[in-house]
């Protein structure tokens, strides 16, 4: 606002210009610092993960570390094998994706293609509120409401299972999937829809055969962002997944996903000790995994943008 000189100003132009320059430089330098800070922090995190995590592979060879099924960090001597954690993460993420993708994409299609503007303007903020619910609250809801329900519906020994965690995670990734898919659907040019209607297609046929295929790369990106959220979520899975160390063979088993394993071990780990290094090594692998998912999502989203850029 400082830069706009209205014609009725009484101050000399020179003073205004100097003040403008002052403000601009100040803001510029702060933005510069902020930008540098993010990069420094990111590099710092990577360096820390490498420094603390890599030595774990001297004690346990990477092959055994990744494919071992025994995790006894406090035994003498300790054993570190993380297969069951990754299988658990896989199950939980699968359940979360299987639930959130159909609902999320359908909801996005409704909001983008069917709903009147008024409905969309009411529903979208509500969905964004869902995204803002803290994960510990989701964990609590899962513990108190969902896990007894899952236990009785599926006739399980305990309601703390990968399934319960997956359902809670699907609720947490829904907002991301809906809002990114909706943007993607709305980016499909109206010419496509009009052409489809002109050929005699119904609304459903248009959505099914024109809009969704047109926005498929954006929807894929939405799904991947949702998956990334599900993989990285910690508190909820720590609370409701059950934490059993065996390799889970079904989603209804209690299990310990990767993030929960890190969270439940780090408090006890001696700084620089074997368990500490092993946990950092898990963190390193998890970081690479979510980074890969997010980067792919970014690439796909970029392709979608280019497709309709005219």
């Amino acid at each position: 606002m400082l830069g706009k000189t209205s014609p009725i100003t009484v101050e000399p132009v020179e003073t205004l210009r100097r003040r403008w320059r002052l403000g601009e430089k100040l803001i510029e330098s702060w933005i510069f610092l902020a930008g540098i800070l993010t990069i420094v922090i990111l590099l710092g995190i990577i360096a820390l993960l490498l420094k603390e995590g890599l030595p774990a592979f001297w004690y346990t060879p990477p092959w055994e570390f990744l494919f071992g099924t025994k995790w006894y960090p406090v035994s003498e001597p300790p054993t570190f094998g993380i297969t069951s954690f990754f299988v658990a993460t896989l199950w939980v993420t699968l359940v979360a994706t299987a639930i959130s993708v159909p609902i999320g994409v359908a909801c996005a299609a409704y909001l983008a293609e069917v709903a009147p503007a008024k409905v969309r303007e009411t529903v979208k903020p509500i969905i964004e509120i869902l995204a803002g619910i803290p994960s510990v609250v989701m964990g609590f809801i899962g513990l108190m409401l969902l896990s007894p329900l899952v236990q009785s519906v599926f006739d399980l020994n305990t309601g703390l299972s990968g399934l319960t965690a997956g359902i809670m995670l699907s609720l947490m990734s829904l907002p991301i999937i809906i809002s990114v898919s909706e943007d993607a659907l709305r980016a499909v040019p109206d010419d496509f829809r009009e052409a489809s209607y002109a050929l005699g297609a119904t609304k459903w046929e248009t959505i099914r055969h024109v809009c969704i295929p047109g926005a498929i790369s954006g929807i894929t990106a939405a799904v991947m962002l949702g998956v990334g959220r599900a993989i990285g979520e910690t508190m909820t899975v720590l609370m409701v997944a059950g934490g059993a160390l065996a390799v889970p063979v079904s989603p209804t088993d209690p299990m310990m996903p990767v993030t929960a394993a890190i969270a439940s071990g780090i408090g006890n780990a001696v700084r620089g000790g074997l368990q500490y290094q092993a946990l950092f090594a898990i963190g390193l692998i998890l970081f690479i995994l979510t980074l890969a998912v997010n980067l792919t999502a970014d690439r796909v989203l970029e392709r979608q943008k280019r497709k309709f850029a005219r």
Partner: protein, 291 residues
Amino acid sequence: MRRRLFIVLPVVVVVALIVIIIALGGRGGSSIKIIGSNTVTPLSSVWAEEFMKTHPDVSIAVSGPGSGVGIAALINDTTDICQASRKIKQTEIDQAEANGVEPYEIQVATDALSVVVHPSNPVSELTVVQLSCIYTGEITNWQEVGGNDTPIVAISRDTNSGTHVFFKEHVVQMQGLPTEDKSLEYGGDVLMLPSTEEGVSQVAGNPNAIFYPGLGYVTEEVKPLAIKQIVDSIGVLPSVQTALDGTYPIARPLLFYTDGEPTEVIKDFIDYCLSSEGQEKVIEVGYVPLE
């Protein structure tokens, strides 16, 4: 000129802040270092916090890598207080004395682990061997220990907890019993939960569950089991009384070791721990006080 100022200014602010923080942190006063048992850590942390409130010039650092590390630090004279959940061994005392360190033992609290089940569970007592089989996954049905024909849901704390290790050594591996087997580990189906409260609430809501909270965590909603050391002994229910007189099998003293009798600020701190005020904190944290 001005451009340079705007880059320099934030840097100056940051440097000034760092200098202030270092200056404040470097103030004088005495410090106490406590290292050792992970189980005792929550208790000594609470004591340290309370003590530092009334003695602002004292700083206490508590760390809990394990009793063994604590005792090693005592032997090497690199700690003021060693906290331990087991007694020091004779070989360790010899090593310490060779280094000119005289281990001085002070019991600060007692720890009793209750084994709890759902109130509707007909099982009312278990032997240590049966508990071991339940937690290794060898026994998976309540029928095998005299209960209903339902599966057992064994719940444990995660490895963050010192209790996890204590229970593993003394119950799963049956330390001190003729059947002791150091190779036994928790079975893969045991649920590792992040908090004792969650374990208790799971037992309260699940007729098939079993869990081992500290005495302080037992509520009305769960049923503590009587524990038998061996098949022929009498089942003992956990209580402050049975933990104190030594009849409850899964109880142990929580100890502080110092080099010689404690003096000065270390004595003040330990006196506070043993005071009625300090012993009240013991109950709050979930352990058994001395009296």
